[in-house]
Structure formats: C-alpha cells, structure tokens
C-alpha cells in the first residue's frame, strides 16, 4: 500500500513539474522580454544569437561595419550577399576567392535557419518561406522589435544614423546580446517598452 501511495505522489510531482516547465517554455516563446530573466532553467545557449567565433569574419567584415552574427539571417541570404561582394550595398567589399569561400561557409553553417538560439528562431519564424532578406533590418522580426522607435531618433542622430548600426544603441551587441535592458540610445537614454 505504502509503495502505491509513494508511486502516486512521485508521479503527481513529476506531472506538476512538467506542467510548470511546459509553462516556462510557453512564456519563453512569447515575446515577453521581462519574463526572460526569471527563467534560469534555460542555458545561455538559448539566449539571443550565437557569438561570432571566426577571426577572419570578425576581421574582414568587422573592419567596415558591425560583424553581424551569422544567426541573424538565413542561409539563402548569406549566399546571396556573399555572391556579390563587389556590389555590397554600394560598396566594394571584394575578398580573394579562398577567403570568400571560407566566410561563406562560416556564415551558412551558422545561419539563422540552422541555429537553435532564441532570436535566430524568432527571425526564422517571422520570415516567409520564400523570403531572402538582404538586410537584417528588413526582416519582419526586426521591424516588429523596432517599430516603437521613432525614425527621427535614429536618422537625425550622428552617432546612430541607421538601424543597421547595432552597437550605437545595443551596448552588448558584440557579445550577441540584444536585450532591451542593455539598450542605451545616444541623446535619448534608456529605452523601456
């Protein structure tokens, strides 16, 4: 009899735990930034996007602009961008063939569609199946996350200038953290939704 009671209790406990955990997962998937901090059950692996870990990529691409993490765009986008570096947003960003191949491989192997990091998954979810965005700022997820920021704050600021200038406001962008609590808009201050 005792064993049966123990089994039932253990079973009930397991069930409750799984419901709570499931609840966490649900909240986590919701776009609620404030909830994110409360759930320590998620490893850092599930936070934001993977950090840049290719020295050549950081050097070559980062010498002109923020070295956007590969997990911010899908594979198709990277292939398209890397296939026309001579006309890279009106700039010439040509690389020699070996380097071009190496960096394309790095980008495509770590692209948003292959990543299980939080924001990579959200970027993919918001994307249409046939969408091949050439700019991160064009993705629906990005647009939605920034739709409350008045355009003028960005455009008129000498420090920001463009939404593609991540590091101007996201103080932890280099560490692949785009959390709103780390946002500090030059000439404006902290931004809270």
């Amino acid at each position: 009899m005792k064993t049966i009671i123990t089994t039932v209790v253990v079973f009930a406990l397991l069930l409750t735990t799984s419901i709570i955990m499931g609840g966490n997962r649900y909240n986590h998937d919701e776009e609620n930034e404030h909830e994110e901090h409360g759930y320590k059950t998620y490893s850092s692996h599930n936070l934001d996007v993977a950090v840049v870990n290719n020295a050549n990529y950081a050097e070559e691409c980062g010498s002109c602009h923020f070295a956007y993490q590969p997990g911010l765009l899908p594979e198709k986008s990277w292939v398209k961008i890397m296939g026309d570096l001579e006309n890279h947003f009106d700039e010439n960003a040509e690389l020699d063939t070996d380097l071009q191949k190496e960096l394309t491989q790095y980008l495509t192997q770590n692209s948003a569609d292959k990543s299980d990091y939080k924001r990579s998954k959200r970027i993919m979810r918001a994307l249409g199946r046939s969408d091949v965005p050439l700019r991160i700022t064009e993705t629906l997820y990005f647009v939605r996350k920034h739709d409350e920021i008045p355009y003028n704050i960005v455009k008129d600021s000498k420090e920001i200038g463009s939404f593609s200038n991540c590091t101007a406001c996201h103080t932890q962008a280099e560490k692949a953290s785009f959390n709103e609590h780390d946002v500090k808009i030059p000439g404006y201050g902290r931004w809270e939704d």
Binding site: C64, H65, F89, D90, N92, A93, E94, L95, K158, G161
Partner: protein, 130 residues
C-alpha cells in the same frame, strides 16, 4: 664560418620580408621607374565620378580625410577609420596582403577601376612619408 653565413642569410631574408620593400619591389618590376609622393597626394584628393557613384564625386579623402595623420570617417556607415599616415599608424603597413586588398577594393570604389602600379606606388609613398 657556416654559422655566420646562416645568420647572414637569416637576417637578409628578414630584411627582404619587409612588406613595404616587397610592395615597392613589385611596383618596380611592373615597370615603375620614378615614385612621386606629391603625385600620390594629388591623386588622394582628386574627385572621381564613376558609373556607380550616381553623379556624386568620390575621392580617397572623402572617407580618410585630407590630413592623413587624423582619423577618417566612412562616408556612409560613419564608422571611424584609423589614420593612414605611417608616422601615427605604422601597423597599417605590416601586411602586404592587406595593402593589396584595400588598394583593390578602394580603387574600384573610388576611381571605378583598379589603380595602376604607378598610382599605387605614388599613393603608398605619400602615405608612408606623412
């Protein structure tokens, strides 16, 4: 004697490996006879209109500035570009691969074509004597 010889060979190999010497050697081999930093300076500040520039003038100085001992700023992205003058930023002239890469990219963007050996030699001379 053998040891002296190998030290000598080792040193001369290292002297030869100086990236700037390598660059200028290659320019000479391409037929460049006289190198003129004044010519380089005027090319640096010359404005070009290319097929892709949409009637806007482009020059090296657009992004790097006319005073190459100072920092520049990228025309479009606003990113700070460290000074080009060797006297304040010698690190720029330590890797031939990088020198060639930037000449290729930036000449194509600014002039709409690759720079000739003569043009590169003049510009390089100008930058390393500033």
């Amino acid at each position: 004697m053998k040891a002296y010889l190998s030290i000598f060979l080792f040193l001369s190999a290292n002297i030869q490996a100086n990236p700037l010497d390598e660059m200028f050697d290659a320019y000479q081999q391409s037929g460049v006879r006289t190198i003129d930093s004044e010519q380089g300076k005027s090319l640096w500040n010359e404005a070009f209109i290319t097929e892709k520039s949409k009637d806007k003038e482009r020059s090296c100085a657009n992004c790097h500035g006319s005073d190459v001992t100072k920092k520049g700023e990228h025309l479009r992205t606003g990113k700070v570009i460290e000074p080009m003058a060797k006297s304040v930023n010698a690190k720029r002239y330590t890797n031939t691969k990088k020198i060639k890469k930037w000449f290729k990219r930036n000449c194509k963007w600014t002039l709409g074509r690759e720079c000739s050996a003569q043009e590169q030699a003049d510009i390089l001379k100008y930058l390393i004597t500033q």
